[in-house]
Point group: C2
Chain length 153, copies 2
């Protein structure tokens, strides 16, 4: 039985159930969208992790390997390989740190900058189910997610 007086600002069992269901639907959306993601990245010649690395690099801003590892929630030793492959593809370059010569920073090449834009445009597009939403749903969805994810950090 749900609590009889669920106040709206409180995370009670009803909220937990709704949030759990919502999370399940998000997973379903993700799984269902897998082939589309694969096709897009395949055309761009990128792996998922390479695309994510591009997403964390801003044009003209060198990012230390360790910062990239932290942003991607993976081990330092992973980033070595991922950046190796970005470098081999001509999308990024390593440059030695200026103040501390232990750090190596990654920076986008011009080709990498173009590819990043393309990734954002294509791989960033929502799956058909979301793109087809009625306007009011799309607006509400964005607002709710922004409230949950964005500001209250």
């Amino acid at each position: 039985m749900a609590t009889s007086t669920p106040r709206s600002a409180e995370a009670g069992p009803v909220t937990a159930d709704a949030a759990r269901d919502a999370w399940g639907l998000i997973w379903k959306l993700f799984l269902e969208d897998k082939p589309r993601r694969f096709a897009i990245l395949s055309e761009l010649g990128l792996s998922m992790q390479q695309a994510m690395a591009l997403g964390h690099l801003e044009p003209g801003t060198p990012v230390p390997m360790s910062a990239l590892a932290e942003a991607m929630h993976c081990d330092n030793s992973n980033i070595t390989g991922i950046v190796d492959r970005l470098e081999a593809a001509g999308l990024a370059e390593r440059r030695p740190g200026e103040r501390d010569r232990r750090v190596k920073a990654v920076i986008l090449t011009p080709k990498g900058e173009k590819t990043k834009v393309e990734v954002q445009r294509r791989a960033g597009s929502p799956p058909p189910r979301l793109a087809a939403m009625p306007l009011e749903d799309a607006l509400a969805l964005r607002e709710i997610l922004a409230r949950a994810v964005g500001l209250n950090r």
Copy 2:
């Protein structure tokens, strides 16, 4: 130029932008939640794909390898390895098909059934950001996603 009369049931540019933003926020939620997922599955001794395979198996219902591959949107040859490891962990078993002896079906062991429940309970729990949502947001989120994902197939 955007149409001057965007009706609500129509997917115009405004909807597309909102949907794109929402999709980006969902990705952010996913990435941010990666360490938590990792920790949970790690405690259960499962990989992501193994957990997903368990999610597609129902107690007492044998599922052909190829059906599992289709459900997980990956190649048949992948499933061989994933089921090998589930089998090695004592969570699932292969049984030969009855009508067509080419097919092999996967079925949960009793231990697999218990593990599946645990996976659903723990790995299915929403990330803190969603669990902390106000009730009205959680309900609205579920409803919008259900509309988008669930019924209109």
